[in-house]
Symmetry: C2
Subunit: 194 residues, 2 copies
Amino acid sequence: MTELTPPSRQQLVAGAADMIRRRGLNATSIREIAKHAGTPLGSTYHYFPGGKQQLATEAVRFAGDTVARMLDKKLRAGPVDGLRAFLALWRDILTSTGFQAGCPVLAVSVEEAADDERLAVLAAAAEVFSGWETQLAESLRQHGIEPAEAEQLATLVVAAAEGAVAMCRAQRTTRALDRVAAQLESLLASTVDR
Amino acid sequence: MTELTPPSRQQLVAGAADMIRRRGLNATSIREIAKHAGTPLGSTYHYFPGGKQQLATEAVRFAGDTVARMLDKKLRAGPVDGLRAFLALWRDILTSTGFQAGCPVLAVSVEEAADDERLAVLAAAAEVFSGWETQLAESLRQHGIEPAEAEQLATLVVAAAEGAVAMCRAQRTTRALDRVAAQLESLLASTVDR
């Protein structure tokens, strides 16, 4: 790709995901996303006639898919390897951005849904969380964990990682994520071996 | 808060905490906080000459203190009782607001800190999280858990609760929080009994 090539649709979606994971949804504007991607506002609306909410919905799905693909690959080596990769991904995002970025899926989830358009973004976030939970639970079941416990453990992993990322951003240290990693790893390892 | 402080100051702080836990910090304006509390904008600035960031910082501390007082009371019956009360508090907030409100401390933590004023709000959030972690860890230590493990477990509880609340808001169900509660309760009970 040369510098003269206009940003692709995908680049706008990735740019939106990056802006949302830093600022949240309300503070993200389609104008700034266009500027960030170096594209005219008009072509942004050409790609996303539904405007910011459409772009945000796709950004949430894009972030969800990126993590899901990584999880799919890493879980082949077992649930503990999947867990490690999941937590390492969040740790990298925190440290590589000086704690300025977190998870765009969580970001859109903690703003009031005032209208139908916002509900579409929220529905995408709900699907992403459920997708990650399902991937982790399936891996745990494949390693002999009872279905109900596998679901609980999978949800605990996603919830604890998401909460720890937010804590790390406030505390400006990876301490919370590192503590959570130690506990979850030991919990999953002991449950899988049981 | 001294006894000379008129109740409306406290109402403004509580109103700000409520608005932030619903909308996030960026979408919260001091004008709307004043309106919400039925107070003239002028008296809001009289109480909070530092404007929105000062009010937000106090709102985060107010929310933190409210939870800390409840934890302090409930942890006297042991860490598992403290955990139950902590999770029940978040569950009540979700269900009583139709999943429109979550945690104001998390909300301010997931927005980029662009200036010094924002850093003050973030520092308050960091202190609140650390405070809750310390309360839980101390209770676990008092029940025979090694200091390092007590710290990890305490952080896991706070992180998992915070993450689950965000997931519940997106998923419009208390499922994530209920699953996290089942796992954390069994983990804490087994560790304390060990």
